[in-house]
Subunit: 168 residues, 2 copies
């Protein structure tokens, strides 16, 4: 499960990308628009600021604002900054690697071989997608929804999106 912290952060970033021209947006405004607990969001935006993604201004007319272009914000970094490494096994994390105590031989560990693929695909998507691309996809989805789904699957430079039909 993706932690609430990361979910809220992504929503807030999309919101801020949309309101770039408006100057600083106060936390309360974002919280209200996206239905996020205000004080919790406060802590999240602070972390994003410390990560260099946002800037802040205090006092009336203050608030948060993107520091960099949406096209340079990689979503994997956002999640990593807020919720730590995404590796499904400690032995697959580069930034926080450590051996699985139970692993007899890492090179031939079945679990590791399997999850390495999962991890690679996850990173390909999350680090390969920027905030700008995500905003574009939301726009496309909104357009498709409004126009009665006439233009489905218009995912720009999009991921596989094949017709998978697995459970869960």
């Amino acid at each position: 499960m993706l932690p609430m912290k990361s979910r809220y952060a992504l929503k807030a970033l999309v919101f801020l990308a949309r309101h770039q021209v408006d100057g600083p947006v106060p936390v309360a405004g974002i919280a209200a628009a996206e239905a996020i607990p205000t004080k919790f969001l406060e802590a999240i935006l602070l972390e994003l600021r410390n990560a260099g993604i946002l800037t802040s201004r205090r006092g009336p007319t203050g608030g948060y604002q993107l520091r960099v272009e949406p096209s340079t914000v990689h979503l994997g970094d956002v999640i990593r900054n807020l919720s730590g490494p995404m590796a499904p096994l400690p032995c697959l994390s580069k930034s926080a690697y450590h051996r699985c105590t139970e692993c007899v031989d890492e090179a031939t560990c079945a679990v590791r071989l399997l999850m390495a693929d999962v991890h690679a695909q996850t990173l390909r998507i999350l680090d390969g997608t920027t905030l700008a691309q995500l905003v574009a996809r939301v726009d496309a989805a909104a357009a498709g929804e409004a126009e009665g789904q006439s233009q489905r699957c218009r995912t720009p430079d999009g991921p596989v999106s094949g017709k998978l039909d697995f459970i869960d």
Copy 2:
């Protein structure tokens, strides 16, 4: 993070696939070979038995044994049975779907759009890989290791395995 339950289960299944001909294998034997706490593994194998993947026999010469062919065991099902749905968001799970309370519009939710791809790829790999294939990959890795890595990347009908170089 993949829970220990699922990791242990996968290791045990690979072990059992290797020892199919030996008849039932006692829990203690698997636990010793794979460095898994015995009583914990006991509970796990019981669940796999209730899921129809294993059979058991009691008394001396008893133990656990695969009930079905390794080529019919899909690893996604193993993980689901032991650790529940794998969806990164509740609104992406088919078996345990429920709306995110904070989600204003599900169809245009940025987080959902993004994670849907991640989830699809995860399912493609985990539900698309069988126990038999996993055993084969372990063998291939062991062979490659022994032969001084002369035959790398021989992943049979394998996943992408491109040269990704992301952090974490």
